[in-house]
Amino acid sequence: MLSDITIGQMFPGNSLIHKLDARYKIVFTIIFMVMLFCANSLIGMAITLLFVIFIYLLAKIPLTMLLKSLKPIIPIVIFMTVFNVFFYSGETVIFKWGIIKLTLEGLKMTGVMMFRVISVISGTAMLTYTTSSIELTDAIESLMSPLKKVKFPVHDLSMMMTIALRFIPTLIEETDKIMSAQKSRGADFESGNIIKRAKALMPILIPLFLSAVTRAGELATAMESRCYRGGEGRTKMKQPKSDKRDYISLVFMIVLTALVISLNYIKF
């Protein structure tokens, strides 16, 4: 059950998308968001959606995976739809009942919202699907390195992110294990009122915190005994490299975004 979480999980592969420089991928994700939120025309939105599907095909990530990662946001989408459809004030009333009215503008707005939510999740998920957490944090460190000039602890921040990302699956696994152990001892997490349920979480939280603290201590010792002392003078085994693929993709992204934005101003 807990292992069904797919956001942030990497999908190993050998596609063009996997091979792109992670720094560029982060920039592309930002450009993609700009494109997404600037797309107001029908054609522009269609292009954006097609682009998302195109990227998934290119990265050879099964679409079922995408659907799985969209599952948790279904309640949010439904909530938004209901609100938008019935409470958006518009001119062209299709249907009216008390304070609830259905307008053409409301329907349009809902469509746009749904398009944006789905695209933003699937588009940004692509970054973590095709980039390992080490590549990702290295890229963030490299992109933020100008901030070093103002004494911002860029390296420490990226190391913290690496460690945090690295331990998410471990902690999930551990939670699963402790939950199973307590369930075997007859613990019940599903019934009772809120207070009872919160109390029932104690047998999970205490061992989990305890092992997280122990693990943190062990990790610190391990890092120290390998002479870790922060970012100063530290070199990288894998230097981030960009090449033709990245430049071409960058140009492609910019052109596509320009196209989508300009479509807003063209009347058909």
């Binding site: 369930k183 075997s184 001892r185 047998p203």
Partner: protein, 286 residues
């Protein structure tokens, strides 16, 4: 009397993703009341996955588990009953300890069963004495104890629920040799005193040979061998072909046998080996 029957059990992880893995395929076996069964196999052979099915923590995609004549996958079956009948002690169970005192931690299981205060007390006391936990430890925090003590407290926490079938996943893993022997001995004594069924998961051939009546060998999610200790360790070559081996002492005797010495092959402990080898030694001296 058969207390537990596993029929054609199959289970796989992450179907439809690149992480798909078949963990168990078509496993069937029966366990009789009062038996001591060892499940052995390599890391990743499916041992732990198999035992998590026995008390319905994991649900198999196909197959069935019959507990005391009732199918636990049947609609309307009370899962809680399965969890009380089959007590499962996980690998490194000391990580499940959470209460303020040892007494309260052992009492957690019985309390969840809704027993009366006096019944809980007697269960805790008998479980603690079965695991040689001194009463003076009852009021100390479980986190102050040594590794071996924690392990015994955690096992007592499951035994206190008085399960008909006690399943232990690597109960001796990570303990020093003395701690290992002690835990294994206590489990064996517990079975003798209560007549309950015990299943252990282990990768120690020595433990399996010393304590179990019957051995199930798992390999890559399949039941590879199922027989008495003698029947299984007789097949030393087959075990070696899947990367397992016989207990070290048995191996010495097998090698001697190959060299032409008349020694028995079903010897698993140092004492028995000494008995078997002494006559040979006397002959050589003559």
């Amino acid at each position: 009397m058969t207390v537990l029957e596993v029929k054609n059990l199959s289970y796989s992880y992450g179907s439809g993703t690149p992480f798909y893995k078949k963990a168990l395929s078509d496993i069937s076996f029966k366990i009789e009341k009062g038996e001591f069964v060892a499940i052995i196999g390599h890391t990743g052979s499916g041992k732990s996955t198999l035992v998590s099915h026995l008390n319905a923590l994991t649900r198999a995609q196909s197959g069935s588990i019959i507990l005391n004549g009732e199918d636990i996958y049947k609609k309307g079956y009370n899962i809680k009953k399965a969890r009380q009948t089959v007590g499962l002690v996980f690998q490194y169970p000391e990580y499940q300890l959470f209460e303020e005192t040892v007494y309260r931690d052992i009492a957690f299981g019985p309390k969840n069963m809704g027993l009366s205060e006096s019944e809980i007390k007697s269960r805790v006391i008998s479980a603690a004495s079965a695991l040689e936990i001194d009463k003076s430890m009852f009021n100390s925090s479980p986190f102050e104890l040594s590794g071996g003590q924690k392990r015994r407290v955690a096992i007592a926490g499951v035994i206190a629920m008085n399960p008909e079938i006690l399943v232990l996943d690597e109960p001796a893993a990570g303990l020093d040799p003395k701690g290992r022997d002690r835990v294994m001995r206590l489990i064996s004594e517990y079975r003798k005193n209560t007549g309950n069924t015990v299943i252990i998961v282990s990768h120690s051939m020595q433990d399996a040979a010393n304590y179990a009546d019957r051995v199930l060998v798992l390999n890559e999610g399949k039941l590879y061998l199922n027989g008495t200790v003698d029947e299984v360790f007789e097949k030393a070559d087959e075990l070696e072909s899947i990367g397992l081996s016989v207990p070290p002492i048995t191996k010495i005797l097998i090698e001697l046998h190959k060299k032409g010495y008349a020694v028995p092959l079903n010897v698993y402990t140092a004492e028995d080996a000494a008995k078997a080898l002494l006559p040979l030694l006397k002959k050589e001296v003559k």
